[in-house]
């Protein structure tokens, strides 16, 4: 009833204020008709009883001057394969009212927010993953003047169509030094420093363990830039937070993230390092999968978009990882001998992630429930290789009508950890039992402009792996017939799968129609089993076959 009243109020306000206000809507609907595919899924384990599954949402945003309100209706009839099954049914999952006046920005209801890079607090939605940990409560942001901005949040987090029991409260302050010291800007030096604190409350009833009801975490950060250089760094600390994720150990958590970059015309260099130690932070200590994460641990590996390379994604290891990334992009100037008429883009990226050092406690145990967990030297890598990635690409435009890119990949992918989800403590107790897959891949992409405004984009991909999925080849042709229509055909052939029965084709054909803000896509084909990741957060994608439909529009 309250939700209905809110809707009525919104509509009334919109009618009353007429031209002074706006009402916007975004709508998305996805559906798939699953077909029984005995080659892809011999036992029918993944074949849904419903045959057709569909889900979608509509987001309405009403704005009137400095006031904004909105709501999002979602439905899952039933949730599509691979998404968390907790999304079931329909309802208004997100509603808020916001006033931004003078130096105050006040939100009541649902909101998303992030402190710094998110090491201790990030409330966000990633629809592709089925992740939504929106806060439901109050957020106050105030501009204190002199470059100081303070944020306060209080509320509970979304859990499917309900809310988690834990209460989250936090404070963040960020100070732009340039507003106090304008002379810094004259010297092209820009500096922002910040600090944040988050605390969660969840009552404990455990009869054996003294579990903390209140768990706090703090972080400090600095973003500095001078001329072409920029340096962003953040350190976070969390007090004892025994949880399902860490096996109910009492060791405090820490996280460190630092990125140094340099950019000038035609050249960009980025280097980042990261160390995470026991930094899973949820508003429910027993939470699993994506449920009720308070923080976000950004990845320091490059997310790949080419299909075969994307089959080997890196998932952030919240219980401990240590690694870094280096990337350089260079444009060979146009008109030079090597650069050609339009210039040539070179890119090199390399990243790595290992376990952290986890030694035995004084009593000879490691990772035991109710203990401090382990000892760790912050500067030592652990023995388990999680991920290695070296990739390089050359992109060249040969003429006004033809552009080509070649990309090479070399992965070391710890299947046991990243695909099977085995924890580092388990592997430390049984060294050498993990399976590391070596993958070499190449992608050749071409873009050709055709007459009448048409374009053709092709991809040829080859991935050679010494196990797990085995060797694969892929071809893709994407024909933009007009500004309104695109037709895409692709096929992945897993010709080198270790199991002969899995050496099958995964063809997909898609037709996409654009009409202003509206996009409609119809596809038919096979989706292979895999892992889909966004920002180091991953979900398992089951195998499926059938006809898919997607509609996105805004009004």
């Amino acid at each position: 009833m309250k939700k209905l009243l809110l809707l009525v109020l919104l509509c009334s306000a919109w009618s009353a204020w007429g031209q002074q206000s706006t009402l916007r809507a975004i709508l998305q609907s996805d559906a798939q008709w699953y077909l029984r595919d005995e080659v892809l899924d011999p036992s029918g384990e993944f074949y849904p009883d419903e045959r057709l599954l569909g889900q979608g949402f509509a987001l309405f945003t009403y704005t009137d001057g400095d006031f904004q309100a909105g709501m999002r209706y979602e439905n899952y009839q039933n949730v599509m394969l691979g998404f968390p099954p907790g999304f079931r049914g329909e309802g208004i999952s997100y509603r808020y009212a916001r006033l931004n006046r003078d130096r105050w920005n006040i939100t009541v209801g649902n909101f998303y927010e992030q402190f710094g890079s998110g090491l201790i607090f990030r409330s966000y939605e990633e629809r592709g993953l089925g992740l939504d940990n929106a806060m439901d409560g109050v957020r106050i942001i105030t501009d204190m003047g002199h470059g100081l901005t303070v944020k306060g949040v209080l509320g509970r987090q979304r859990l499917y169509f309900g809310k988690g029991e834990g209460i989250v409260r936090g404070l963040d302050g960020e100070w732009s030094l340039n507003q106090v010291f304008p002379s810094l800007s004259e010297k092209q030096f820009y500096a922002t420093v910040g600090a944040s604190f988050i605390s969660k409350f969840q009552k404990s009833f455990d009869p054996i363990l003294n579990l903390p009801n209140n768990v706090g975490a703090w972080a400090t950060r600095a973003n500095l830039s001078y001329k072409n250089f920029a340096w962003n760094t953040e350190y976070a600390y969390k007090i004892n937070d025994p949880s399902y994720d860490n096996g109910y150990i009492y060791r405090p958590g820490t996280a460190f993230l630092s990125t140094l970059s340099y950019s000038q015309k035609g050249l960009g260099i980025l280097a980042s390092v990261k160390r995470i130690d026991n930094m899973s932070f949820r508003s429910n200590r027993d939470g699993q999968q994506f449920d009720l994460f308070i923080n976000f641990l950004p990845p320091t590996t490059k997310p790949h978009t080419y299909a075969l390379a994307a089959l080997y994604p890196y998932a952030t290891q919240v219980n401990g990882e240590m690694g870094g990334q280096f990337e350089i992009n260079y444009m060979i100037p146009r008109g030079s001998k090597l650069g050609g008429k339009y210039g040539t883009q070179l890119s090199l990226n390399t990243s790595m992630a290992n376990s952290i050092d986890k030694g035995f406690l004084e009593d000879g145990t490691r990772g035991q429930k109710g203990s401090m967990g382990y000892t760790s030297n912050a500067f030592d890598f652990g023995p388990i290789v999680y991920f290695r990635d070296v990739n390089a690409s050359v992109t060249r435009k040969f003429s006004k009508k033809y552009k080509s890119q070649v990309t090479l990949f070399n992965f070391e992918y710890n299947k046991t950890v990243l695909n099977d989800g085995v924890g580092d403590i388990t592997l430390l107790e049984a060294p050498g039992t993990d399976s590391i897959i070596n993958v070499q891949a190449v992608v050749w992409e071409n873009q050709i402009k055709l007459p009448k405004g048409q374009t053709l984009r092709t991809e040829f991909q080859l991935a050679l792996a010494d196990g797990f999925r085995g060797d694969m080849a892929m071809g893709l042709a994407e024909w933009t017939i007009s500004s309104d229509w695109t037709l895409a055909v692709q096929d992945i052939y897993n010709y080198g799968h270790p199991s002969e029965s899995r050496r099958i084709h995964y063809p997909i054909i898609s037709l996409i129609h654009f009409n202003g803000p509206t996009r409609v896509q119809i596809g038919y084909g096979r989706q292979q089993q895999g892992i889909f990741c966004v920002g180091g957060v991953c979900r398992v994608v089951p195998p499926s076959s059938g006809l898919s439909f997607s509609l996105t529009t805004s009004l």
Binding site: S43, L154, S199, P207
Partner: protein, 284 residues
């Protein structure tokens, strides 16, 4: 000063809830578990009604994976704190017997006794809270979801507190139970303790008549340390708030994986076998 006021207010609002730094993780007298032999233990304190689903199955029963899938779906909806399944490989030997293709013997004498007691005549077949005994207690797997939903929607009649401990040297496992009645009951009450094991990889006949060599069997009934129908804890029922406590032990068979074993404890009405409340907890 006026500008600083919001800072003070926000700071007080946010920082007032302090952090609970724990220096003694274990409570002084947590429960009746003999901690001298504990390698690793766990506890469960129930707060809601749970549903006990018995799935009579066999590795040569081609439709039985569908019933297992139905349990998996219920588990994904309600979670393991609400759905407490057990898979009894018991009954007709053409479904449960061993041969060269299906070499693992999942049958037990206690499981056979339970199947016999409830007159299981076909597979896959099951019971939900053992309701409707003795006339209509056998339910096909397509009915389990609706019955489970009804049960979960009702108030708990009893709530369990369980604690488990396991000695990896002697392979002896112990479960301590405490069942607190939430409403008055005048019938005789009994407690049953079962032991089950999951993630056993062994061949299974599949719905398409193929043999899945690497099928993962879950919730496989292994033992009933207090007997198939357990023990009577009260001949006259009890009033709300009354607590029944006890324990059960079992030395695990060498081929059982203690990390995949779970205790299942149920409180039931001895006059009609209806389950008032089940609970489950990992052995290790």
């Amino acid at each position: 000063m006026r500008r600083l006021l919001p800072i003070f207010l926000l700071t007080a609002w946010s920082l007032a809830p302090s952090c609970d730094v724990i220096t003694e993780p274990f409570k002084e007298n947590p429960n009746p578990v003999d901690t001298t032999s504990v390698v690793r233990g766990d506890t469960l304190v129930q707060t809601a009604r749970a549903v006990f689903i018995e799935d009579f199955t066999g590795h040569r029963c081609k439709n039985c994976p569908k019933a297992s899938k139905a349990i998996k779906a219920l588990d994904s909806i309600y979670g393991p704190s609400h759905i407490i399944p057990i898979a009894l490989h018991a009954g007709a030997s053409n479904f449960t017997g061993v041969n060269a293709d299906y070499p693992t013997d999942f049958t037990t004498s206690e499981g056979d006794d339970i199947a016999s007691l409830f007159g299981i005549f076909a597979m896959p077949m099951g019971m939900v809270q053992r309701v409707d005994y003795p006339t209509a207690h056998q339910k096909t797997y397509t009915a389990w979801a609706g019955l489970s939903a009804q049960e979960i929607a009702s108030s708990p009649e009893a709530l369990f507190t369980l604690s488990a401990a396991y000695d990896s040297v002697s392979r002896q496992a112990i479960v301590n139970y405490s069942a607190a009645l939430q409403s008055t009951n005048t019938n005789a009450l009994g407690i049953v303790v079962y032991l089950k094991e999951s993630h056993i990889i062994s061949p299974q006949l599949m719905p398409n008549n193929t043999r899945d060599e690497f099928y993962v069997h879950k919730n496989v009934f292994r033992a009933a340390p207090l007997g198939p129908t357990g023990v009577e804890v009260s001949s006259t029922g009890g009033s709300a708030g009354q607590v029944f406590t006890g324990s059960a032990t079992k030395t695990l068979d060498p081929i059982w994986n203690p990390k995949e074993c779970e205790w299942v404890v149920i409180l039931y009405d001895r006059t009609n076998y209806r389950v008032l409340q089940p609970a489950q907890i990992f052995v290790w």
